[in-house]
């Protein structure tokens, strides 16, 4: 897949990278069992610290998104089941969004519209 990162974004590179890998899996740009670049190579290509990449891989491994093999990390070949941690994370973020939604008086339909308009793939490439 083509990772797209924005060095000057307010979102830390570490979070961006994590999200990009997850996005790749969701859109099929990364297929189950596919190998990811080595920590060193990915850090080199992005131009960031190796620890940052290592941290992302480790966290994704913990979340069972990636699996560690002898010669590096691969996308988990098994379909993912939501873990307790994942559910907690999602509900926390929904909680925050619900506050914003109520604050601005946004209707359920409007939220649905926004959800449907999210473009996960980047066809413009």
């Amino acid at each position: 897949m083509l990772l797209e990162l924005q060095p000057y974004s307010e979102k830390p590179i570490y979070e961006q990278l994590m999200l990009e890998i997850k996005r790749g899996i969701v859109t099929g740009e990364l297929v189950p069992g596919e190998a990811l670049p080595s920590v060193r190579m990915l850090a080199t290509d992005i131009g960031i610290n190796m620890h940052t990449v290592n941290k992302v891989y480790k966290q994704l491994q913990q979340a069972k998104v990636l699996v560690k093999k002898k010669n590096g990390f691969i996308v988990n070949p098994e379909p993912l089941k939501p873990t307790e941690d994942a559910m907690t994370g999602i509900s926390e973020r929904i909680y925050e969004l619900m506050i914003e939604k109520a604050l601005y008086g946004i209707t359920d339909d409007e939220v649905l519209f926004l959800m449907k308009n999210v473009n996960l793939t980047r066809k413009e490439h």
Partner: protein, 386 residues
Amino acid sequence: MRESTLVLLILVGTILFTGIILGATPYLTRKNIQFGIMLPEAVGKSERVKQWKKQYFIWTVLISILATIPLLVGLIMDKTEDELIHYLAMIGAVLVMMVVILNVTLYFKFYRKAKKLKEQDSASNQRKAEARVMVSTKFRTEKMAISNGIFAAMGMFIIVATGLAPIVLSRQIGAYVPKHWHAGDATEFVSATVGTFVIAPLIQLLVLGILMFTNYTFMVTKQLISPKNAVRSLEQNRRYRLAMSKSIVSIGIGLLLVLAMPQFMMIFNVQSSPLYMAIGLGYMLFTMVITFYTAIKYGQGGERYTPPVHQAGLKPKAGEMLDDDAYWKWGMIYVNPQDPAIFVEKRFGIGTTINFGRWQAWAITGVLVIITVVILVVSMLLSGEG
């Protein structure tokens, strides 16, 4: 052909070739980098920058043409063949150096102009904020270079043949073998010892090592993909690396063969060899043609190349390449301790350079300096003996 004519041809050829390739550099770099400064592509296409490139080319080529005059003057001077060769060799090296120095001076002139242009551009900070780094996760698994295994196998075949030839053909070898050829005729003979025959394979090994290392850098150099049309840029980059690798391997194999020739000339006691001179000259032309062809067809990072499989009509995306001007000293030397990349694309010219913010870059430089010094010392000692 007289040897002095050959030396003259080689020197004039080298100087003109250097001048043209140096002068053409601004046309071969990435479109968003002008004279070492990152500028929008539109600025690169502007009349002003076009004029700069033209001036830079004309001046550089002019300097190199002027530099050949002192060499040609040698022809009408009243000198013996030996004196003439000596004169050409001495002055030739100085002239090549002068062309390079004048060219660097010229570069600085335009580098400052480009820098000023950027400083005046109020939108440059806005563009900086829109930077996107694109990285393909599959890039390293694709074929980007001829494998060093294949290169080593081909190279070692030639080297082993060169090394074993004196043993297998030992009956052919006389007590004395020709060592220097002058004007195509052997002028110096040395007694045949083991030492006489190990020099060629040793030099070949060194050459193969250095070229394999160069080939390796094409596999590990940091990805640099334009966010505007990332898929296309990615393919251009891959094709460019493969083409560079192919040219390095073919130039390298050619050089190993050329280096093997004196060995066989010593074995078969070849005392006259117009063929060797012709092959040497031919090899030089071959190298120049390959270099020109690759440079003009692909350009830095493959930006001049149109990939055959390429979706036409795609809208270029928003986003700019990461502006790292601050880490490029004089737009030429990369010093960025925060970047783990050791090998990065050159900004002015074609190929790879090293990140002096990392110790590995200094180690590589150190090794190259040591190799150069050793070669100089050894060749001085050898010529002293002769």
